[in-house]
Symmetry: D3
Subunit: 327 residues, 6 copies
């Protein structure tokens, strides 16, 4: 595999195609403009400063563009950074697709589509089935490429679909273990619960909140999408099915303080809330533990009330446990 | 004016047309059915028990029906109640419209329609204007007859429109006093902010929450209505106007804990939240003070953190204040 | 199956063996003693009053005893109750085991023992394995017969083991779905997490909190049990394994406010907390829904922030959903 | 109009009279003293450092003094600052009144005095009238020149009176719209509610909290002032009027958490609390929006729970709204 | 000692002088007036109903009067009550002082005066000394006879002074143990901290909150009293001593949520807050424990977050502990 | 007394034995390693940087070692720091005991041992006495040398014992003042309440939390220690004495939010909680006030909700207070 940003050693010089994840115009102490940059490829990201930026530079080097970067990996204030030696936009016959430079879900789009397909077959209630089909079809491209969040958990390309699928797997376990769960409702609610993020967020690259995202939030966005889909499919606004499905989406944050306008009032909505939280929590902790040596603690995790988590040392080999039966 | 429920003296016998506000089947100590009733006219309400109820009685004497009641006002456990001597449903040529027996807003529907009309003329932004027209036209009957809440504040027929108009008057004061307020947005948001209650609540008589009311809430209900209206009017889902108007409705409870999925993020939404709270607060306090003698305290008001309010005694006449100018 | 308490009709006379679930001495208006009783069999419970109780009656009719009850099912204040016609303690050759009269887990003790056995084989870490074996062996009788709580969730005989096994099933799903979970630690922590309830609670019949339960709580009780077991097994107090296992128990309530002296700081402790909450929540909601007709709401559930849950009506048969593949 | 601080371009040299808003002695890396300064005129403020400060410099260049400053506007770390070339105190025949260099309310003192005068005439209750007259007369100079807060809202000269007058205007709207409001009490409470800030704060220039401000707060300060005024005017400590007026001041923060020792328990106190909050909120949002381009968000506003507010883009001209009457 | 209310047996007839602690007019089922009474002497209290009350009865049998009561102790709904056989007001030559019929502090007024006297000698700061003298002299009668609260803690005659003295004793321990405590300030603040209750409460008998108590609270009441005393004594409003003493009173509830407009900001105020809470807590727990048998729990104590407290059983005699020295 | 770190003047050169309180490897801008150090002696601490650190330097200059430091006191960014000129480890015949370089409690170990000895004699209950003896004997060295906390209060060598003794003195005052306090239980609980910190913290020098400290906390640590001691002493797990003593430790943080798994449910536990808080609070405020000039405020104190405390100016001499007796 070709060398990537995270492979560079201190003082190593290099020439690489990288994505501009962030690009902000600043004014230097000498009064001239420079661009504060964050370079990214699928291995990770590093900052750098483009000094004495001309108006043309500022116009072309914007976030979301791929560049050919010639530089040197240095250290500043104990943190690694790039000294830029030369930089130009990638040409059309060079690698220039931003999506190729960002972290991706551990499943391919095809794999994820198959799972969604399969699950839709299990949604045997016609109302739920038709609405899910309509909305997934409408937002498919974004659904399979967007992250699940700007930061925090599943913040990689395809993270939205991957997080959804992860909850679906948990939901199947629940349906197998407990009786009297309305599986079609649970699956339909799961598939749609975060689909509004395709409108709340700006895209898989250089992700920001949109105006609708900030002022409406993905719950209300998706709620209105469901109603519109139902209208088009001739499903009555008063149908219990429609109200239950809308409730699944509106209530999935569990608490009013977390932005749900209603708390869960049906069993399946309560379950979806728990599974959503559980999957996001595991993902956040496991991401944080990856950067930590055994015996150490992670940094404080914002999304988990600023708790730190401990990574245990490998267990000392001990005597084999008894194989006798207890009862 | 004819005698009403609240005019009856202890032990007075009477014959009156009254509304059955509540009617619940119960089983008596002797194992027979009875109906626990609440009678209502526009003067107030009184309870009573219909003993030895037959199946036919139970079927006809349901909440929302008007009856001709022959009875006697007695006392039980220190509270007034009705001893039922005879009771039958009102006939079609007798007073039988339930709406005639409930408390009403202090303005007529015509007066309120005029004010809404006038305000719509002041909504000079075409997007807001068209959506408000469409939705008020669609829900007009309910808007002008429903209460603003099942209990708490403005819980009388026409209360929803009256509360809306009361906020509109405050909003006009604000627009006059402060610069740079987007008046059309503030007025449009005000008119629509509680309109979802026409779907959240069951009606002006024997008001209950509907399934949609419980599981979705009036904020999300109206949000979806606005989107549907915009679709029909050909207004783009991404138009800033539409997003701002939706935000006015979604944010008007002010805090996530109060059921708004987003807190106000534009000036007009913050103002609407304050005016809504102010009008509801004044109405709750003034209703409570009506039942209290000067020098006493109201009962604890649930909607105001269980505070009691004091009704001052009339001021003692004192010397006339100075008429000289201070500065 | 023989007739039980819940099968009785209004005014039906009967003679049944039943358990005294509660028995409280009271003084009547006439100054004489009576006993306020709650009768129970596995179908449910009903109250009754034993009037003019002699000193001997008061001494023998105490909670936890089985009696032969001759009575009549009546109604008082709209609630069913028993009029006692005659009552005596059950003899040794009659049904007199209190455990036979209380609700039971939907699995037999043998079935539950098998699952625990199997899981212990999967606990391949010797420290965890040995401690779990020692403590389950020590508390086996109570573990398989106690409820999981005095009220709220899994409040039936065998509920403690059943709840534990239910979480173990969820834990297996998690281990299958996610990488890098320490399965032995998760299983060991799950088996022990509520085992302290065998000391916190008084037993399967007429369950009360013990003094240790009130003043120490089942978390600290089990923590000290684990340390004692480790001492006896020669496991060092400073071993990381021991500290992690103790942390699983101490942190499983998740929040300080819920009685955990530490919040989860390892991944497996966080997962155990979520699964515990999830299983208890599903159980509480499903119990409540059992008593409710479709289209109605449950009573407010204390353990779920006083929320009510809706039981949907059966779906209206609709057109068959599409069988075409979406992607 | 003469050039001011905010008019200076990068690298522009200038000579201006400015106020020293802050002046703090510091020790430089080389061990010598310097003075860290903030310069201010009514256009805004800029920082600068006075190096190698002698003892005499430190004594004369203190906050609150006006200086003639010769300097150059530079940039440091992306923020503008002043390089000081020469600096001396303003002489008596030069501009040297600090008040001339700070931002001011948008009304003159005369205009504000007139409004207060007028309102006092409307306070027809003699107790309120006499106390208000006495206290406004006593604190007039401070009342019309102090800011309403050290920072947050109305933090400009005359802000205290301007904020008071703004609430008075809202209060008049309320009195016009609702019945049974005790207007004299509402107006008197409004005028006095923040008057304690004349003792809580140090003055209009270089505003700090006084010892009394920190340890007593402006509510208790004003409460004691009212009692003292009443004593001097021969008004009984037990008079209901006096208790109600004191309650208006003590309760106007609305919640105990906000420093009110009692929550509002009369209608007029509740209204005053709402109007105070409403006016301060509008002022904070509008100040923040001034520094923001359409389509952008303000910085997070500390006094509003760290919310950001959106400044909408100008509406796109659309078709004219319908002029037809709806009802 | 003469027989008292708490000495009466079931069905015992008696004739006793007792205090009417409460007397409320009610309407009976038959429409006639009765008076709902609570009788009290220093042993405790019992309820009773005075049927068929005439207008004259209602006028004379009001709370705070002593009566000669002829009655019988009965039981109603499992609670003891008095059947009234005859009742008349006590005459002037009979026991008729209400104070003789209520529970009293365990010290005499003389004893308590001596301690206050002594402490005032220790207040060597002239400002504190003079203000304390003035205010204690002004409110002496109420200070030594009022309870410290309407209910909760020290709710007996003389409780206010007794609670104050109890804190003074703790304060002396603190002054002895820690260095750099301003003892005169701590003692002065302690003596005055609750003195405002002499105005907040209506008196030692049938204690209610006054209007000033409800709308101002005892903190603000005493704050204004201190300022007035300082004015009369010629102590400047700006004196640090005065500000510190006022702060002691205003801050002694410790938290804004408990009604202090400022949190403690000097060491002595923080200490006073802790000692006040400690003494009240001990008193509440010990009162509750008095009514409880060893091995039982108290009822839930409202003032202590509804906690129940356990009364341990007497310890089992064990072997004598070692008398050897550890170090 | 010899010169110490806090005695150094700006630019003064020196040679001193000092402790390395902190030593962290860092990478400089030039890519080379340096060590970021904090030097400490009993007068205080100062930072410094050891540039161009070799692998050998990094290995030997670790936290907890004593070094002979030749350096110069300089200023950087307005804060004092050490420029290191030469540095080597102290030899065995030079001062090299880290404990000699840290702040110490104001009592000697002997004095503190005497007080603990004495108090143990007062613990007349054999259960408490034997457990306290066993645990204090086991942990004596750590108990008399550890701080009471990593930072916040009593963060000096011997602070743990000193804080314990300070609470014991308060406890004696309480026992003298109030009746019915179980003194042996209160003293035993006090001695053990923080003893778990000997395992929670790493030691008196360069104090950190241990793994057990982070994952279990000192409450659960000591609870298990008590149970183990009781096991060894043959005291039954069900003995009321043991349960009460464990409750004292588990409940002493008072609130669940502060890490107590149970709130106090016996009088002595409630008292211990209050005294613990009171002593820690006084210590924190007095430490902070030491660094502050009269008339100034302390920095915000983290452990006291970020409050600042005011240090009053010396009182102005005033007229002598009256010596007359008030009553």
């Amino acid at each position: 595999m070709a060398k990537q940003l995270m492979d560079l050693q201190l003082d190593e010089e290099f020439e690489l195609y990288v994505l501009l994840k962030e690009a902000k115009k600043r004014v230097a102490k000498n009064g001239k403009n420079f661009i504060s940059l964050v370079f990214q490829d699928s291995s990770g990201q590093l900052p750098g400063k483009y000094w004495d930026a001309s108006a043309a530079d500022i116009q072309q080097f914007v976030s979301g563009r791929v560049v050919l970067l010639k530089g040197k990996r240095e250290n500043y204030m104990n943190s690694p950074q790039i000294r830029i030696m030369a930089m130009r936009l990638a040409k059309n016959d060079e690698p220039h697709d931003p999506l190729a430079f960002i972290k991706r879900a551990p499943m391919t789009r095809n794999q994820m589509e198959d799972i969604i397909n399969q699950t839709i077959f299990e949604i045997t209630n016609a109302t739920y089935n038709r609405i899910v089909r309509a909305l997934i079809a409408k937002h498919a491209d974004a659904f399979f490429t967007y992250p699940a969040a700007k930061s925090n958990h599943h913040d990689f390309a395809g993270g939205l679909a991957f997080h959804t699928i992860s909850i679906l797997r948990l939901a199947h376990s629940i349906v197998n273990q407990y009786q009297d769960i309305d599986a079609p409702l649970l699956y339909a609610g799961t598939i749609l619960h975060d689909l509004g993020k395709t409108i709340e967020l700006s895209g898989p690259v250089a992700t920001e909140y949109t105006l609708a995202g900030n002022l409406l939030g993905h719950l209300s966005i998706m709620d209105a999408e469901i109603v519109e889909a139902a209208d088009k499919l001739g499903i009555s606004r008063d149908s219990q099915d429609l109200i239950l499905l809308r409730h699944m989406i509106l209530a999935h944050h569990g608490l009013l303080e977390y932005g749900s306008p209603e708390r869960p009032q049906i069993l399946e909505a309560e379950i979806l809330h728990h599974l959503d939280e559980l999957d996001a929590t595991i993902m956040m902790i496991q991401s944080a533990l990856k950067n930590v040596a055994p015996g150490d603690y992670t940094d404080r995790i914002f999304g988990l009330d600023n708790r730190r988590f401990y990574k245990p040392k490998p267990p000392v080999p001990t005597q084999k446990p008894s194989q006798s039966q207890l009862f």
